[in-house]
Structures are given as C-alpha cells and as structure tokens.
C-alpha cells in the first residue's frame, strides 16, 4: 500500500514537472514574456546593416516561428501539418526533368557564396554549401557532419523517377519531409534556382557522378 502511494505520488510529481516544462518553454507559459522581449531585443540589435536584410530576419515565417517555439521538436500533429503545407508549396520543374549535370552540381555543392552581408555581387549565383554539412563525393575529405553522409546515395537507393522527385523535393524544401529539419529550404526560400537543384539531384543520382562510382 505504501509502495502504491509512493508510486502515485511520484507519478503526480512527474506530471506536474512535465506540465511545468511544457508550459515554460512552449505555449502559454511564463516564457512567452521572454519570447516577446527577445523579439524586441533582436530587432534593436541589428540596426546598422542592410535594412532590407534586417526586415527579412525580424519577421520569421510561420515555420521558422513554430520551429523556434518548439526548439525543432514540434508535437506530432503540428509536425504533420508543417510537412503537408511545405510539401504543397514545392514547385517541381515545369519540364518534368529532374536530372541536370552532376559536374555543375559538384561546383554548387562546394560553393558557399551568397546572401551574407559581404556578398554584394547579386549576379554571381548562390552556392549550396552542401559540403559544409554532408559527405558527398569521396575525393572531398573536408566535409561536415551536421547532416548524414550522401556518399553512394544513388547507388544505394536507385535513380528512378520517384527517387529523383524525392531528392528534388528534399533540396527544394527539406521540411516537406521532416518538420523543423536543420537543412535550409533551398528552393522554397529562393537560395537556389530550379536548375541548380536539378544539378544537385544529378550529383547524388547520376550513375556517372563520383558519388556513385
């Protein structure tokens, strides 16, 4: 009987603690005030740079706001909602052609140029910076490990139309497949063009690409 009471007590404490945490960080809790103050501190701390750039980061889009609020771990229902709205917003190439040129894809994967406040040349296309986070072609040993290895991606998964479509969609908007993924939404946010993304699809899937050799 005593053990039962202790267990019930422990369970209650756990419930209260969990509720406290959830309320604290997530919604309706005391941290809502901190979030609002953080927003005004943020806006007051980027006043000397490019105003257009500042306006874009001052205002988060809905997905950024939700992923911030849930610290990239949204509850299941919300995750599904994010994934479906993001998937619906993916624009596939009008030509229906997903596979570009892997050689150009390799250059885009290496290149980190673009959208930093010291990158003034708007005519130079943005890079993808893929190697910052992923292992891709084996010759490049300076790769990051924030994302999974993509080495042999096509060789392991095949290169048919459904896989091409998946890879295109994943690069275009990673959150169509995983809500609050850390990977940038390259197509959705206009970082890379449709054509650039098809080159990256080829880098991962073309049997001639060093990724699959």
């Amino acid at each position: 009987m005593k053990i039962l009471l202790v267990s019930i007590y422990a369970a209650l404490v756990l419930i209260v603690l969990n509720a406290g945490c959830a309320g604290g960080v997530r919604e309706g809790g005391p941290d809502d005030g901190a979030r609002e103050r953080a927003e005004s501190v943020f806006r007051a701390s980027f006043t000397h740079g490019n105003r257009e750039m500042a306006a874009k980061v001052d205002k988060q889009d809905e997905v950024q706001e939700l992923c911030t609020r849930y610290r990239n771990e949204p509850p299941k229902e919300l995750a599904e909602k994010i994934e479906s709205t993001q998937a619906a917003a993916v624009r596939y190439p009008a030509s229906g052609k997903f596979l570009g040129d892997w050689r150009q894809g390799e250059k885009i994967a290496q290149d980190g140029y673009g959208l930093r406040f010291t990158d003034p040349d708007a005519k130079r296309p943005n890079g993808g910076g893929c190697y910052n986070c992923h292992r891709i072609a084996p010759a490049e040993i300076s790769y990051g490990t924030i994302g999974p290895s993509l080495y042999r991606f096509g060789a392991l998964r095949g290169a048919g139309e459904p896989v091409q479509r998946y890879v295109y969609g994943k690069i275009y908007n990673s959150q169509a497949y995983l809500a609050c993924s850390q990977m940038p939404r390259f197509g959705h946010n206009g970082v890379l063009t449709e054509e650039q993304i098809t080159h990256l699809v080829a880098l991962l899937l073309d049997p001639e690409s060093p990724v699959n050799k």
Partner: protein, 266 residues
C-alpha cells in the same frame, strides 16, 4: 599486444577516408600545440596593457580607474566574472561593452567614437582587440564564475536562450543549427554543443583568441558577429543587447571552466 586490440577495432570501424580524417585532425592538433607555445596573442596583450595605462581621449585619462566589476582599477580576475550587471549603467555588460563605457566616462570619447573600429582589418589595427586580450589574460588560470543572480542577469539569460533557438533568414538558421549536438563538424571544423558544459567550458573560456586564418586576435563580440554573418543575418551591432544576452546564456554552461584566454584558433 596490449595495444593491438584497440587499434584493430579502430581500423575495423574506419574506412580509408576516415583514417585520413583522423590524421588531418591530429595534424591540426599538433599545429595548435606548436603555436600555443608562442601564441602571437602575447603581442596583443602587451599592446593592450600599454593602451590601458596611456592617457587618451578628450580627457587625456587612462583606463586604470575603469571598474570591470570588481571595483575601480581591479583587472586581475575581472574577466572571470563577466558578463555581469553594473549598477552605474543599470545594464548587464560584457568585457567589450564595459570597455566602451570606460572610454566614454573616463576618457571622454563620444559613444559613437568609443565603438569605432572594434575589429581590425588588413592594415588597420583595433585597440579593442588589444585591450580585450590584456584584460582577459589577467584572469588566466581562474575559473569562470559569471554571476546569474541579479534579476537583469536572469532576464538576459532568458532572452539569450530564446535567441539561441531563434530561426530566421533565407537559410532558416539559428545558433542551435550548428551548436545543438555533440561531435559535429562544419567542413573540418569541430563545433561545440554550447549547452553542454563539457564543450562550453572549453570554448567560451578561450575567447578572445588569436585566429591563425585571420592573422589577428578576435574577440567574443567578433565571434558572434561572424556567426550571424555565416547565418545570413545582417550585421550584428557591436556590444548590442542581443550579443550580451547570448554571452550570458553561454556563460551559464561555461561556468567552472578555466580561463585560457587569449586562446589560439584556426
């Protein structure tokens, strides 16, 4: 024989590329050690001490009476207890923000002039990098003990925490995008998980640092400015409230770590 088994296990776990990675990492470590024996930051410390003692600004005063938190003129150990709340400014301040305050109040610089040229560029040195090196070095070997008791310090921590997770910009990046997991790398550069005391204690306590790739000492303010640059955010204002809130947030996890600043980094 005693050593053979672990080597075999390692070899079995590692492909060729992985071995190459480990060799590269080992070489970088060796290079760091070689350089650490003669850290070029020593020169910055020496120049910083001269600047500290030199009469300058419209009031032709030195910084020797600057209160860095332990009382006017106390430099020893001050960096180990920053950032902290200062009652005269009614704000939480980090080292650089406090140096700016003293340049205004003691030396008579205008607030605008006091924050000019915080980061050196080729052919243009920065007094701030030298001053920060000097003050930080005066806490070498001490344990970081940044206070978190004044309501404004607690408030700064909570704001810093929010900012750490805040995603924005064309790449959807937040601080946590790179600093949320243990053992990750960007290219070959290892990334600290800043909410893990094990990582935070090693990293936070080694700024300012001489950066080999940039050929100069960089400060914590520069580190944050550079992070936001990489995050495709606009230019972070020098000694802004957001920057200090993030430092207070990081310091909480780094507290207890031994100050080894100025450090030496890539």
């Amino acid at each position: 024989m005693r050593y053979r088994l672990p080597v075999l296990v390692l070899a079995a776990m590692c492909s060729g590329a992985c071995v190459a990675q480990q060799d590269t990492q080992k070489e970088i470590e060796r290079y760091r050690q070689l350089l650490a024996e003669g850290n070029p930051a020593d020169l910055f410390e020496a120049r910083g001490e001269e600047l500290w003692k030199a009469p300058r600004g419209p009031k032709k005063a030195s910084l020797e009476q600057c209160d860095l938190g332990l009382g006017a003129g106390v430099v020893k150990g001050a960096y180990a207890q920053l950032p902290r709340y200062f009652s005269d400014t009614d704000r939480v301040q980090d080292l650089e923000s406090r140096l700016v305050t003293c340049r205004v109040t003691l030396q008579g610089f205008t607030p605008g002039d006091a924050v000019k040229n915080p980061f050196s560029a080729p052919g243009r040195s920065s007094d701030m990098e030298a001053l920060a090196s000097y003050v930080a070095a005066e806490s070498k070997g001490m344990k970081l003990d940044a206070p978190l008791s004044h309501p404004k310090e607690v408030e700064a921590f909570r704001i810093g925490e929010q900012l750490f997770y805040r995603r924005a910009g064309p790449h959807d990046f937040a601080c946590v995008s790179c600093h949320g997991e243990t053992g990750r790398r960007i290219r070959l550069q290892e990334l600290p998980k800043l909410t893990d005391p094990k990582d935070a204690r090693k990293i936070f306590t080694t700024w300012p640092a001489y950066r080999v790739s940039q050929g100069t000492v960089r400060t914590m303010q520069h580190r944050l400015y550079d992070c936001y640059w990489q995050m495709r955010h606009p230019q972070l204002d020098y000694v802004s409230e957001a920057s200090i809130a993030l430092e207070v947030f990081m310091a909480k996890y780094a507290n207890g770590g031994e100050i080894q600043a100025p450090g030496l980094k890539r």
